[in-house]
Subunit: 279 residues, 2 copies
């Protein structure tokens, strides 16, 4: 693929865009072939057209975009080629997160970083903490890029491992503290699901530094307020990811208009919440 | 890519091949562009030629092959295309593990399974436990395929998270017990590094069921005996992965002969150890 040109260092770009939009909206792109709008083919072409259509319609309201690489990898090399084209055509001032949740030993982590930060020119990636710092630090060798380490995810079985008791706390709290203490300055954030607002607030108090990437927010859910409220990491800004509430706002042939309208409404609501919260 | 034909259900094939070879050797393929033999280009072509050359020279001595996908993904769609070609040409009676260490929420896990079990027709994959059962079970929807869940890895910082104390045990022991209790029958094994033989033995006693996939074994390391000794899961056979001691037996133009000789020696040594251990 062609070299990708960007405006400025990722966090500089993100801060500028957040200031302009007034809302920490991250646009989630997770195109499942079974959940495409009517009229799109359920193959790699459909996935690419859908992802491009959502970006075109909704990204002006979002500070960042989070693309889950699994939905492209499912189609092998032709899916990865589609991801390369999609990425190359993203607006240059958008903060681009590749949601890959990788976690491997040092030399392998270096190659995943070459794939995601080098080849695909992501601004940020998501990583698993399970292998410790060896799995994180090779990514930080890529100047100015950002990583989000999984702390508490938003899926039903997240608690099986992440809530295990470690020295009087839960494992995900221990992971959050480890990240906050080991890497300061904003380049290592945390993934914290929005499904339990109380947990989100508690974790924000426990680790004031790292920026949070908050998935699991629905269109109207009361969790939106808690998610926006925790986007004030002292080291780096946070982001609230919304996927289906935008990309599946309609499954008919008005899906692009509906996605644009849903994103605009979310931007406005987040801006309002941010003002109420005094920021 | 073309449909891939295989002989029989993965564990049936693995057991047949183990019985024939008498050694649980798994051939690790982790081609780093900086560590290719002299004369190979440090690009995707070099990676593919190296991987193919190692398989050609050494796989007859191995029950399984473990390919780390990161080294192909680093080259984007052209790297994944090389992996597709490599996979399609593997011997049909070899047990093929794709080392991907994925771990994501249900619908995403389903797409990773489509990539690795569907598109690339792996017999087995490695997975992270951090997201709980949601990240594992979509893979088990693929009939007869095998997954290895990370318990204790072999890297320097493995202990940071994996050795945290949980209810009087270490996190990786808790993960191993969770896997052993939740999924019986041999389709869910564990990744347990060989770097600390005592831990390996202790874990084998703690969870007698799951097959172990044991990375981190060097050419002559004393850990080989402990690794072979733990390859007797009561539910499924185990495998000892060797990468560099075979693939980097020589970095000159005799690299293929050297890899073949190293694999033959390892097969013989493992067979001998297995006999000593009374199996």
């Amino acid at each position: 693929m062609q070299p990708i040109s960007v405006d400025a260092a990722p966090l500089v770009r993100l801060r500028a865009r957040l200031a302009r939009l007034g809302a920490p909206l991250c646009l989630g792109i997770d195109p499942h072939p079974r959940a495409l709008p009517e009229g799109l083919p359920t193959n790699v072409e459909g996935i690419e057209r859908f992802a491009r259509g959502i970006v075109e319609a909704a990204s002006e309201h979002a500070a960042a975009v989070k693309i889950n690489v699994a939905f492209f990898e499912a189609f092998g090399s032709s899916g990865v080629a589609a991801l390369e084209r999609l990425r190359a055509d993203l607006p240059a001032d958008l903060f681009v997160i590749l949601d890959a949740k990788r976690g491997d030993i040092g030399p392998t982590a270096e190659r995943y970083a070459a794939a995601l930060f080098g080849h695909l020119a992501a601004d940020a990636v998501t990583l698993s903490p399970y292998l410790g710092e060896d799995a994180i630090e090779p990514f930080l060798e890529h100047e100015d890029r950002v990583v989000y380490v999984l702390a508490r995810t938003s899926n039903a079985s997240a608690g099986t491992i992440q809530d295990l008791p470690v020295d009087g706390a839960m494992l995900h709290e221990r992971v959050a503290r480890w990240v906050a203490e080991r890497w300061r300055g904003g380049r290592v954030g945390l993934v914290v699901g929005a499904t339990r607002p109380d947990d989100l607030r508690r974790l924000r108090e426990l680790v004031p530094g790292p920026g949070f990437l908050v998935p699991g927010v629905g269109a109207q859910g009361g969790e939106l307020e808690a998610a926006v409220a925790c986007c004030h990491g002292t080291d780096a800004p946070g982001l609230v990811n919304v996927s289906r509430a935008i990309s599946k706002a309609s499954s008919r042939d008005d899906w692009q208009e509906a996605a644009g309208a849903a994103a605009a409404a979310l931007q406005a609501r987040m801006k309002e919440l941010g003002a109420t919260l005094g920021r």
